[in-house]
């Protein structure tokens, strides 16, 4: 039986591949949208499968920081218009 760690990585890879294909086929050019979707998918996979990590989940922390940076930039752009 496949362990939940390996299953989480497989599902994450599938999610990312599907998202990239879907957004690309919709001619989506916004780079930050892709990264936000990847972050969301990683957090969902992490919450559902709870994969084990050798150290603290630095990837989740990094992606959340990037996600908040993207959101902040978007809000800033709306405010200065």
């Amino acid at each position: 039986m496949i362990s939940r760690d390996h299953l989480a990585n497989t599902v994450l890879a599938m999610f990312i591949a599907i998202t990239t294909y879907a957004l690309w086929s919709l001619s989506e050019k916004r780079f930050d949208l892709y990264i936000s979707m990847y972050t969301l998918e990683y957090i969902i996979v992490k919450a559902v499968f709870r994969p084990r990590r050798v150290i603290m989940d630095v990837l989740a922390v990094g992606l959340i920081i990037v996600f908040f940076a993207i959101v902040s930039i978007r809000i800033y752009e709306v405010l200065i218009k």
Binding site: M1, R4, T19, E28, Y34, I35, Y38, R50, R52, R53
Partner: protein, 232 residues
């Protein structure tokens, strides 16, 4: 840090994503292609962060606990007092009563001695290693079982519960196996944990049978709700 072929594949994906991402950025700027390589890098990092083999201290402690209870139950079995069990919570502690016959609701006095004769049969009392501090802040017994078995001790992949007066707990991907003697008396290491937690939430619990296979363990138990252990 030990790197097996799986984690090596993760490292390769990470570097591939990084190099191709940088190259794509220099050629096309911030384009979906760069995002694709970042996606590859995320998958690579996720694989890289996945442990090759689990050798956590908590799991080693669980193995030790398993061995310890095998010894205890072997002694009980030689005394022929381990065929029936009852997990009962008194305050923050859980006591496990073992006897050769059905154990009726034991009084608190019974919790003071190691061996007590009740109804002509000896009842042996042992402390459970799980007490209320282990489940502090969790309101639901199933979440508590999941937290201890999956997250803290890391000895299974998941837990499914059906909780009623006759509760069934299904443990997915168990790591440890207990000998038949321990399974019959305490429900194995998983039964011991599940029984103790159920006693903390419900008051008392008794394991009826344990069904084990490579992929799952099913623990069937009788639960009695009383005031003593219902606070969670």
């Amino acid at each position: 840090m030990y790197v097996d072929s799986y984690r090596g594949f993760g490292i390769a994906l990470t570097f591939m994503g990084l190099i191709l991402g940088m190259y794509s950025y220099m050629v096309f700027g911030l384009s979906p292609l760069v995002a694709l390589w970042i996606g590859v890098m995320i998958v690579g990092l996720s694989i890289m962060l996945t442990p090759s083999h689990v050798s956590r201290r908590s799991r080693e402690l669980a193995v030790m606990m398993n061995s310890l209870f095998i010894n205890i139950v072997s002694i009980m079995d030689s005394m022929r007092v381990s065929s029936h069990n009852l997990f009962k919570a008194y305050g923050d502690k859980v006591y496990i009563y073992l006897s050769r016959g059905e154990i009726e609701n034991p009084s608190e006095e019974l919790s003071t001695g190691f061996i007590t004769i009740s109804g002509g049969m000896p009842i042996i009392k042992i402390f459970s290693p799980i007490d209320r501090t282990a489940v502090e802040g969790i309101t639901d017994p199933c979440s508590a079982i999941d937290r201890i078995i999956v997250e803290h001790m890391d000895i299974a992949d998941g837990v499914e519960c059906y909780i009623d007066s006759k509760s069934v707990i299904r443990i997915r991907g168990p790591v440890l196996s207990s000998p038949y003697k321990l399974e019959r008396s305490l429900g194995g290491i998983y039964g011991l944990i599940v029984g103790s937690i159920m006693a903390l939430y419900m008051g008392s619990a008794s394991i009826e049978y344990v069904e084990s296979s490579k992929d799952y363990i099913v623990i069937s138990m009788r639960v009695e709700i009383d005031k003593q252990g219902s606070s969670g």
